[in-house]
């Protein structure tokens, strides 16, 4: 199917005029919102539910269902998750920098559907360019009456704001994000209550990822049936962005029907960097367990990747060739999770620290035979034992290293050094 696939979400890449309201409207922009505003909000929710759209931020939760859980209290809020901080992920940055109105339209439709009059786009602090582009687009849409006090003449009041984060991975977790939006440390909340009932400022709130919301205008204009016709099966529908990086010739963001085989994605990215040999890949960002080269024909959808023992996550695909030391790679990811643990839950705060120390020790050739067992034991103490998914995310790569690539770890222990040549390691030391 992918041979005949026309890009949906990235159709405006290479069309700089899409940055302006007028340019965006040339190709049918805001027609989805116009259509939605003539429908009952519940009917819009129903259409999105029917499309089978699942969240593109990492968890893959059905978007329409999330919307249908919205509490009765008012005011209500939409918080667009533009915190994109999962290592390997850069697709939302592209969507915001190239086609800001597509995101605004998706946000506006969601707001209408859940009867929210305020939308905050929570964008990571480092994305200054994308933030400026979004702010300009919002201003233009307000001035043209597309958003604002009387969105498209419908009488619907919709205020949209860009809210910039300040550098913390945990703020990508939805309740951490809400805390941060409220001006606090981004420490996740206990669920339930879920944000749909008690969210931003204690009011009902939908939190959706950028790419998820960018799909919404297309579902409205082309229909849920069209959306469902793309993808692997009824649980894995629609177009999907894959951000591929590491040892490939042309790293970048590529759009495919969800479920494209990894092999096809790799080809699209120009194949292996300098004709190297594939050793392993991470299919869904730093939180996803590492898969071996033998999984090259894996279908890249939520369920197929889960069945293979990993997760699609944010579909950030990190490719590693056979010159890569996996101990060193996982040590780097462990350092990341240790740094980003918010410190609230003991298993995650302490466990991520110990995992980083142990992996550095192994990489430095100071490890011992018992370290594998020890690492798995720490994983067992973190997994399912903390408030938010960060702890579970942190153990994904570590477990897959010990369970799937033990001979390589063992070689480090036996030879008392890393068998791969490389430069000084910059993972250590204070941040």
């Amino acid at each position: 199917m992918s041979e005949t696939f026309e890009p949906v979400l990235t159709q405006n890449v290479g069309r700089p005029d899409a940055l302006s309201l007028q340019g965006y409207r040339k190709t049918g922009g805001y027609e989805g919102l116009a259509k939605a505003l003539k429908m009952e909000p519940a009917a819009v929710v129903e259409e999105v539910k029917k499309s089978g759209l699942r969240g593109r931020g990492g968890a893959g939760f059905p978007a329409g269902m999330k919307w249908s859980f919205i509490g009765k209290a008012k005011p209500r809020y939409l918080v667009c998750n533009a915190d994109e901080s999962e290592p390997g992920t850069f697709k939302d940055r592209l969507l915001m920098e190239v086609d800001p109105h597509q995101l605004l339209e998706g946000c506006a439709i969601c707001c209408w559907a859940v009867e929210a009059n305020t939308c905050y786009i929570y964008i990571r602090g480092e994305y200054t360019k994308a933030a400026a582009i979004l702010e300009r687009a919002i201003r233009e849409a307000n001035e043209a009456g597309v958003l604002g006090d009387n969105a498209m003449g419908s009488g619907f009041k919709l205020d949209m704001y860009v809210h910039r984060g300040a550098g913390a991975y945990i703020c990508g977790e939805e309740t951490g994000m809400l805390e941060s939006l409220e001006g606090k440390r981004g420490q996740p909340r206990v669920k339930p209550p879920f944000p749909a009932v008690v969210g931003a400022f204690d009011k009902p709130t939908v939190v959706n990822n950028v790419e998820t919301l960018c799909n919404v205008p297309h579902i409205l204009t082309r229909g849920a049936d069209w959306f469902k016709s793309i993808g692997t099966d009824e649980r894995n529908t629609g177009p999907k962005l894959y951000a591929i990086s590491g040892h490939v010739e042309r790293p970048g963001t590529y759009e495919f029907p969800i479920g494209v085989p990894f092999r096809e994605l790799l080809d699209k990215a120009g194949g292996m960097y300098r004709h190297g040999t594939l050793k392993a890949f991470i299919p869904g960002g730093a939180s996803a367990p590492i898969l071996p080269a033998s999984q090259i024909d894996l279908k890249m959808d939520f369920d197929s990747v889960a069945k293979a023992g990993s997760m699609l996550g944010s579909a950030a695909v990190i490719v590693m060739d056979d010159t890569t030391c996996l101990v060193r790679s996982v040590a780097r990811l462990a350092k990341f999770f240790n740094h980003e643990s918010c410190g609230q839950c003991t298993p995650c705060r302490e466990g991520t620290n110990w995992m980083e120390l142990l992996l550095h020790r192994l990489e430095d050739g100071q490890g011992s035979e018992g370290d594998g067992k020890l690492l798995l034991s720490i994983c067992g103490h973190i997994g399912g034992q903390s408030l938010c998914p960060l702890g579970d995310a942190a153990i994904g790569p570590v477990k897959s290293l010990v369970e799937g690539f033990w001979p390589e770890v063992e070689q480090h222990i036996r030879d008392k050094r890393c068998p791969f040549p490389h430069r000084r390691y910059f993972g250590n030391g204070a941040h």
């Binding site: 984060g165 400022f201 990086s245 790293p251 730093a286 780097r332 990341f336 910059f426």
Partner: protein
């Protein structure tokens, strides 16, 4: 008051910064929600970092305890509690950049600037630090100088960029 609690001083936010903050505050139903934007403004006013008087000024402006503001400042990587260079350089060193040679970029900066990571050059011009993923993995290795992304770096290109910083 604990020993680390910042001391309140008379200096507040300058009028234009206060006006900017007042516009932003209207976006939120609570005062506190304007804290992150307020700290970003204050950090700009105070030359790229947040000394105790900046924290005190923001706390007074938003009617929050200084300890609350301090707690937020220490949580986020983009707020700094010690002086930084006029040009703040962040090198992404997470896995995708590691696979494409970010260490060379770190080494180049070290040689070129002749200071350790997170130290400021004697002329106050630059400081550099390694950072977590900056969302530019397709153009690895990369670094940010201030707000600008510099992508597909080589040691040579890195040297040119650094030498061009005034």
């Amino acid at each position: 008051m604990s020993v680390s609690e910042p001391q309140v001083t008379a200096a507040g936010l300058p009028p234009d910064a206060r006006a900017e903050l007042d516009r932003i505050r209207k976006r939120y139903p609570t005062n506190e929600a304007a804290l992150l934007p307020a700290l970003s403004i204050a950090q700009r006013v105070w030359g790229g970092w947040l000394p105790d008087e900046a924290i005190a000024a923001v706390a007074a402006e938003l009617d929050l305890p200084a300890s609350t503001v301090y707690g937020v400042v220490t949580f986020y990587d983009l707020f700094h509690q010690k002086p930084v260079g006029r040009h703040r350089i962040r090198v992404c060193t997470n896995l995708p950049c590691q696979l494409r040679g970010c260490e060379e970029i770190m080494e180049t900066l070290h040689q070129e600037l002749k200071v350790e990571e997170d130290e400021v050059t004697p002329d106050g011009r630059c400081s550099f630090i390694h950072f977590e993923c900056l969302g530019s993995c397709d153009t690895a290795p990369m670094m940010m100088v201030g707000d600008d992304y510099h992508e597909n770096l080589t040691p040579e290109r890195t040297r040119q960029i650094v030498r061009g910083l005034k």
